[in-house]
């Protein structure tokens, strides 16, 4: 970085006005007899983006808070941050090189869709069982492992769909069994603190599964082969391929954006499965029952739905979704028993960011986290350093969300205060 003073100065300025804005705005709104639930969020974002100017205007006018008033200052704050970075580090690749930026963004979007899909499973489990599954990453890992063994080791050349299918069936079964054996006492009030029990028992499952797989397959990284090759396309023509150009493993758009085949196919499959899932949740009886239970357990039970059955289905289905994400990404990354840790934490970030229990929130959160990670890895010049920070980007987002808007972007009122009394 050329002028670190500028960057850190602006950063400190934003943080301090953000804190001031958050604290004071809440007070001002309270004193003026107004709704304060999002005042802290608006205040901090406005403070971070405009400093004292916007804050004083806000404190004088105190308009009722709308979602727009949260959105624009937040975007502005991100903008200010980016401008400060650009000024401080004018030679950075992600400042000068437009095509690099475009490529990073589209890759961030694509990977974000996959992240969002994985987080969807977590949200499903949470909204129905009220449990944050700490074993989510392990299901992801197992999904990938099974797919790798089926498609690459045991039956090379087999249709990858079969491998993915086997992975799904296996993880669904594991999830269902685990739920029956270990989560059932939570519902009957036998356990003193069910939420903590849920955390610890899934934590235990994660630990067990991870080392079980490691004991079986060893700790060396493995790599599955690509599921599909792209057909060779040159558009408009081979001599002047500016629109789209594909090789077997890569796709290039406008000569600038390059997307690798495994990620692309994974994202497409995620979208397809997501549509199928949405159909399942909205059109079939079981899906409707699931949603009913997530909204009101007692009412659903009165309507003749067995909530316990739904618990099993939700846990198994949620775990299977994680496994599916793993099965599709095993062709993109090298695979280890420990590979689940980072995606699991990313999923936590995404569901908290999107709002625990919200399905669209999971996707939105996934895309945001994907973009943040792309920006983080792209803009830190030292590659090794950038890679080491990967787990941290999401966690910064998580901590910011928990501090500013614990309900998440699209969250229902599962706010931190009420959750835990589930």
């Amino acid at each position: 970085m050329e002028f670190p003073v500028i960057f850190w100065g602006v950063f400190a300025w934003m943080i301090s006005w953000g804190v001031v804005g958050s604290v004071v705005t809440r007070r001002v709104y309270l004193n003026k007899d107004l709704d304060t639930s999002n005042a802290g969020m608006v205040g901090s974002m406005l403070g971070a983006s405009t400093g004292p100017v916007g804050l004083i205007l806000l404190w004088i006018k105190t308009p009722p808070i709308t979602s727009r008033m949260m959105l624009f200052p937040s975007l502005a704050a991100v903008g200010v941050f980016m401008v400060a970075f650009a000024i401080a580090d004018p030679n950075n690749l992600c400042v000068v090189n437009g095509s690099f930026v475009a490529s990073q963004i589209s890759n961030g979007l694509i990977i974000g869709i996959i992240y969002g899909f994985m987080a969807l499973g977590l949200t499903l489990i949470f909204s129905i069982l009220g449990v944050v599954s700490f074993a989510h990453g392990e299901f992801y890992m197992i999904g990938g492992m099974i797919t790798y063994f089926v498609t690459t080791v045991w039956f090379p050349g087999i249709n990858p769909m079969i491998g993915i299918g086997i992975a799904c069936i296996a993880t669904f079964a594991i999830g269902a069994t685990f739920e029956r054996l270990f989560l059932t006492p939570m519902y009957s009030g036998k356990i003193g603190r069910p939420v903590e029990y849920g955390i610890l028992i899934t934590f235990g499952l994660a630990f067990t599964l991870q080392y079980f797989v490691q004991a079986l397959v060893g700790a060396n990284p493995v790599k599955a082969k690509r599921f599909f090759d792209f057909p060779r396309i040159r558009l408009p023509d081979a001599a002047d391929p500016w629109l789209i150009k594909t090789s077997r493993g890569n796709l290039e758009l406008f000569d600038t954006i390059s997307i690798s085949n495994p990620r692309f196919t994974a994202a497409i499959m995620c979208i397809l499965v997501f549509i199928a899932l949405m159909y399942f949740l909205r059109r079939t009886w079981t899906g409707k029952a699931l949603r009913a239970v997530s909204q009101d357990r007692e009412a659903a039970a009165i309507a003749g739905i067995n909530p316990d059955r739904m618990n099993m289905l939700a846990f198994a289905l949620g775990s299977m979704i994680a496994a599916l994400a793993g099965a599709m990404l095993v062709q993109a990354f090298s695979w280890l028993p420990q590979v689940g840790a980072i995606p699991a934490m990313r999923s936590f970030v995404i569901v908290v960011l999107g709002g625990l229990g919200s399905i669209p929130g999971a996707f939105l959160g996934g895309v945001i986290v994907g973009l943040v990670e792309a920006a983080g890895t792209g803009c830190i010049p030292d590659a090794q350093q950038a890679a080491s920070y990967i787990p941290a980007y999401g966690m910064f987002v998580l901590i910011l969300t928990l501090l500013l808007r614990p309900t998440g972007l699209l969250g229902r009122r599962f706010s931190s205060a009420t959750h835990g009394k589930f």
Binding site: L181, Y211, F212, A215, M345, F348, Q384, L398, I399, H419
Partner: protein, 409 residues
């Protein structure tokens, strides 16, 4: 006269005497190895018992405990790696006068370039040519600093998590610990990243105790340091648990709003429990770092946190002594299970399977004996008589107006 309720105390005393005498009595070939297991066991015992205070007593299920341990360890490592005292200024390094001597702070030079020219102290020593004696920061001081740093971060995290409960708290603290690990792995220039940073051994120059000479590699001094720290922690925890602090944090765990309505300053106690337990974790981390001689970001991974959680839960998360004993026993078990064996054609590599066993044990304990495996034994002695007593008391005839109304029902 000895009563049944005193049994846990007696057993505790026996255990303390056992551990105090063990290094003198035991003399098999694997002496250093067994001693190492116990030192590590004590380390985990401090972590598990302080975590049990945090999670079991106060109900704050934090997954950042290993992060605090890491803060202690890295503070100690950085202090012992970068800070020196010298009677004369070097004129090369950053330095501050303290009294008649100078505190020297080395410039960070990372892993790759440890050439002489970049190390300011080496340059100065070359100039002095042996005429000046530079002293490193004493180990006790760096452990103290590590502990304090843990307390500062505990205060920070404790204050930030005030509004968070249950799953959100777990996620926040997990996030904290992961960020910490990422920062340590990434800032290679200062922390040396994954390679780990070396620091002075606890008794770098050996030590003479009661006329016996112990070299740097001898386990006995470190064993007693760790053992002493464990006893200190258990002592503090016992004091806290018996005082109103213990009562209040348990009330807070049970119902924060009700506790506040009865006059308990919940904010203060929540932050305090974070600070105290973080200091314990950080102190243990700093001492362990000085014993092992190197710390790396791998000490803070989730696996380590899982171990502590599992040890505390299997011992009994709602009793810090049970958690501590559980930790020592499980550490012992984990090491004993290391030896691989062969059944017919199958060779079982126990180094990984033992962790599977451990995980299954954790899950089964949670499911079938949520209070842990040791805690029910302690409760049998301390609370076993209560149900009988209640019945006996209820049945004995009573005086008084109101009581008759009830017993007549």
């Amino acid at each position: 006269m000895l009563k049944k309720t005193h049994a846990p105390q007696m057993i505790g005393l026996v255990l303390v005497i056992f551990f105090a005498l063990f290094p003198f009595v035991y003399s098999a070939n694997d002496y250093p190895y067994i001693m190492h297991i116990f030192i590590t066991g004590f380390f985990y015992a401090i972590l598990a018992s302080s975590w049990s205070m945090l999670a079991g007593y106060a109900g704050q299920f934090s997954f950042g405990h290993m992060g605090f341990m890491g803060i202690g360890a890295y503070t100690a490592a950085l202090v012992s790696h970068y800070f020196y005292m010298s009677p004369v200024p070097t004129n090369f390094c950053t330095e501050f006068a303290i009294g008649d001597s100078y505190l020297i702070i080395l410039n960070p030079i990372g892993v790759t370039s440890s050439t002489l020219a970049q190390d300011c102290l080496k340059q100065a020593m070359e100039v002095w040519n042996g005429s000046v004696e530079v002293t490193p920061i004493p180990v006790w001081l760096s452990i103290t600093l590590g502990t304090l740093m843990g307390g500062i971060f505990g205060l920070l995290v404790g204050a930030l998590v005030l509004p968070l409960r249950a799953a959100y708290l777990a996620l926040f603290t997990l996030g904290f610990s992961e960020i910490l690990r990422a920062v340590i792995s990434a800032e290679i220039a200062i922390t040396r990243g994954q390679a780990g940073i070396e620091l002075r051994y606890m008794f770098e120059d050996g030590i003479t105790l009661f006329g016996r000479r112990f070299e740097q590699t001898d386990k006995l001094p470190a064993y007693f340091v760790m053992f002493f720290l464990l006893l200190l922690c258990l002592g503090i925890l016992a004091l806290l648990a018996r005082s109103k602090f213990g009562l209040f944090v348990r009330a807070l765990r049970e119902d924060q709003d009700a506790a506040a309505a009865l006059g308990v300053n919940t904010t203060r106690y929540k932050v305090m429990v974070f600070v105290i337990t973080s200091m314990m974790a950080a102190g243990a981390g700093a001492a362990m770092a000085h014993y092992v001689g190197i710390v790396s970001p791998n000490n803070i991974v989730i696996l380590q946190m899982s171990l502590v959680v599992a040890m505390a839960v299997i011992g009994g998360v709602e009793n810090f002594v049970a958690a501590a004993i559980g930790a020592i026993l499980l550490e012992f078990m984990l090491e004993m299970l290391r030896s691989s064996f062969v059944i017919g054609p199958i060779e079982v590599d126990m180094t990984t399977w033992r962790l599977v066993v451990f995980g299954v044990l954790l899950m089964l304990t949670l499911r079938f004996s949520p209070k842990g495996l040791l805690m029910p034994i302690i409760e049998y002695f301390t609370r076993g008589h209560i149900a009988k007593e209640t019945v006996a008391k209820r049945d004995e005839p009573k005086m008084g107006d109101a009581s008759r109304t009830e017993s007549s029902q």
